[in-house]
């Protein structure tokens, strides 16, 4: 199965970090959406930086261009600043990362809307129900990664829309 990438992936300058401010903004934008789409379609929620740097995403063998390790870190940092990436382990090492092709806040909204729609406000619900429950069968967050789910619920906590139980097994929606 040949990978389908947008036009930028076949454009050699895409693999060189552009010095021109305006151009760079566009370039990073393109990288962001490309990486997130790739991770989503391959169901990648976390990766090793070095490993993914060698994947087809960052290395186009046809035009013989690849993103250099330094530039890759710049791109990943940009993802992080947009809330789509979180470093795993000590921040300085930058070897592993979690990737959120949907931001935790976005997951939070989805879950809360679903909770509201199903009249689950002011009730308690287990995390299991949210990701594996019958009511959540056709929901996007079905089978969601546990860590990500907790992050999403924590975002709701900040918005005072939910409260996570200390054992992290249940949550109450408001």
């Amino acid at each position: 199965m040949t990978e389908e990438f947008p036009w930028q992936h076949a454009f050699p300058p895409f693999f060189t970090l552009q010095p021109h401010e305006q151009t760079r903004v566009k370039q990073l934008e393109a990288w962001r959406s490309m990486i997130l789409d790739y991770c989503q379609s391959h169901q990648i929620t976390q990766f090793d930086v070095q490993e993914i740097g060698q994947s087809a995403l960052f290395h186009n063998k046809t035009i013989q261009r690849r993103l250099s390790p330094e530039d890759l870190l710049v791109v990943l940092e940009d993802l992080r600043s947009h809330g789509h990436l979180e470093w795993d382990g000590p921040a300085k090492s930058r070897r592993k990362a979690h990737i959120y092709w949907r931001r935790p806040e976005e997951w939070g909204s989805l879950i809360y809307n679903w909770a509201q729609a199903h009249g689950m406000t002011n009730t308690v619900c287990t995390l299991f129900e949210i990701t594996q429950g019958d009511d959540a069968q056709d929901q996007a967050f079905q089978g969601l990664d546990q860590d990500l789910l907790i992050k999403a619920l924590k975002c709701l906590e900040l918005e005072s829309k939910a409260e996570l139980f200390p054992d992290q097994e249940g949550v109450k929606f408001f």
Binding site: W7, P13, P19, Q27
Partner: protein, 379 residues
């Protein structure tokens, strides 16, 4: 060596003898053999060669010039100094000593070429004969006066200096003839160029341009110098005009832009003798807007300075570069310089300017730096 005579007062010149030149650190060779006469001063007078070691006051060796039959040169090498070889007339008198018929003067410190030239001249001029003739004439002309009287000495000195002047002017005659011929030519060129400037002559535009180009190649256009215009702003303004006048045509041909180094070379070549210093050139370029000329000094971010025709503005150039990129898909600096017929420096500046304005983006690899049309902003 036996033709050298050792004297204690060799430093004193005889009547009519004058010093021509001297050389330092000269060593004497008897034939091919070294002598003990080293590190000496060698003086050439009109009559003789005197070798003298300043450390030893008394040692003066003199060789009368009439004895020198032939001159040769031995070029120096890594380990040996250049030498002049003097072939001498056979010694009269004692013929028993088996010394060679030539001596060598070794110039440890160089300067032998000049010395040889002067020695050659001295041998040609044969001053020693002239003085002899004068001495012969002197007494007959001044019969009533005493030959050794002060008057006689004064007269002989006067005659000698007059003779010297004649000799010198004879030597310079050729040069003066040339200068004489050049004078009307220079004044003619000056008058025509001033006529052109004042537009009083009946010279057409084409002829003017042609004539100016001839003047340029001759290098005798009427240059603006500090004599004609002094220092200060008017000087720089006039210089600016001259620079524009010189560069207008070449600039049109080379795409409206020229690096300051090229400008410096061309302007000085055109001026010929009255060269321009880099500071004067720079100040003149700065005075271009003031002089109301369609030429500007422009400095890129990289520090490269160019003179640019205002008709070829940055925007126009960026557009041109953009078109070139679109036509060929992508370009390196070398490729653009070849395609547009401009220098590599200017091609690089153009591509960087295009990038800075968002018209181009770069593809930086180990093989090359390429520029593409900026699809990021257009798609």
């Amino acid at each position: 060596m036996d033709r050298f005579s050792l004297s204690a007062n060799g430093g004193i010149l005889a009547a009519g003898e004058f010093l021509i030149t001297s050389g330092d650190n000269v060593k004497l060779y008897d034939g091919h053999q070294k002598t003990k006469f080293e590190i000496g001063e060698l003086h050439l007078t009109s009559h003789r060669l005197i070798w003298h070691n300043p450390a030893i006051e008394s040692a003066h060796l003199s060789l009368p010039l009439p004895l020198v039959v032939f001159l040769e040169e031995e070029t120096g090498g890594l380990m040996k100094s250049p030498k002049i070889v003097l072939h001498l007339a056979p010694a009269h008198g004692s013929g028993a000593s088996p010394t060679a018929n030539f001596v060598k003067l070794s110039f440890k410190q160089g300067g032998e070429k000049q010395f040889k030239a002067k020695l050659h001249d001295a041998l040609e001029q044969k001053q020693w004969e002239i003085v002899v003739r004068q001495k012969a004439r002197g007494p007959s002309a001044s019969m009533p006066k005493m030959r050794t009287g002060i008057g006689g000495i004064e007269r002989s000195i006067a005659q000698k200096s007059k003779l010297r002047d004649t000799e010198i002017s004879k030597a310079f005659q050729d040069l003066e003839k040339l200068m004489e011929m050049a004078k009307p030519m220079v004044s003619l060129a000056k008058s025509i160029s001033s006529k052109i400037r004042d537009r009083q002559g009946e010279v057409s535009d084409d002829e003017t341009v042609q004539f100016k180009s001839y003047l340029l190649s001759l290098g005798i256009s009427d240059p603006v110098t500090r004599d004609t215009h002094g220092t200060g702003q008017s000087y720089y303004r006039e210089l600016a005009k001259e620079i524009f006048w010189i560069l207008d045509q070449p600039l049109q041909e080379s795409g409206g832009m020229m690096t300051l180094t090229d400008v410096f070379c061309r302007v000085n070549r055109a001026r010929g003798l009255e060269l321009l210093s880099p500071e004067d050139l720079l100040n003149a370029c700065k005075a271009l807007p003031e002089a109301g000329l369609p030429l500007r000094l422009y400095t890129f971010d990289t520090g490269v300075s160019v003179l640019q025709l205002t008709s070829h503005t940055q925007e126009a150039l960026i557009l041109k570069t953009k078109e070139a990129l679109e036509q060929s898909g992508s370009l390196t600096v070398e490729e653009l310089s070849k395609a547009s017929g401009i220098s590599v420096i200017l091609a690089k500046e153009r591509l960087l300017s295009a990038e800075r304005s968002g018209a181009a983006c770069r593809d930086d690899t180990v093989e090359a730096l390429r520029f593409y049309p900026n699809k990021f902003l257009t798609c």
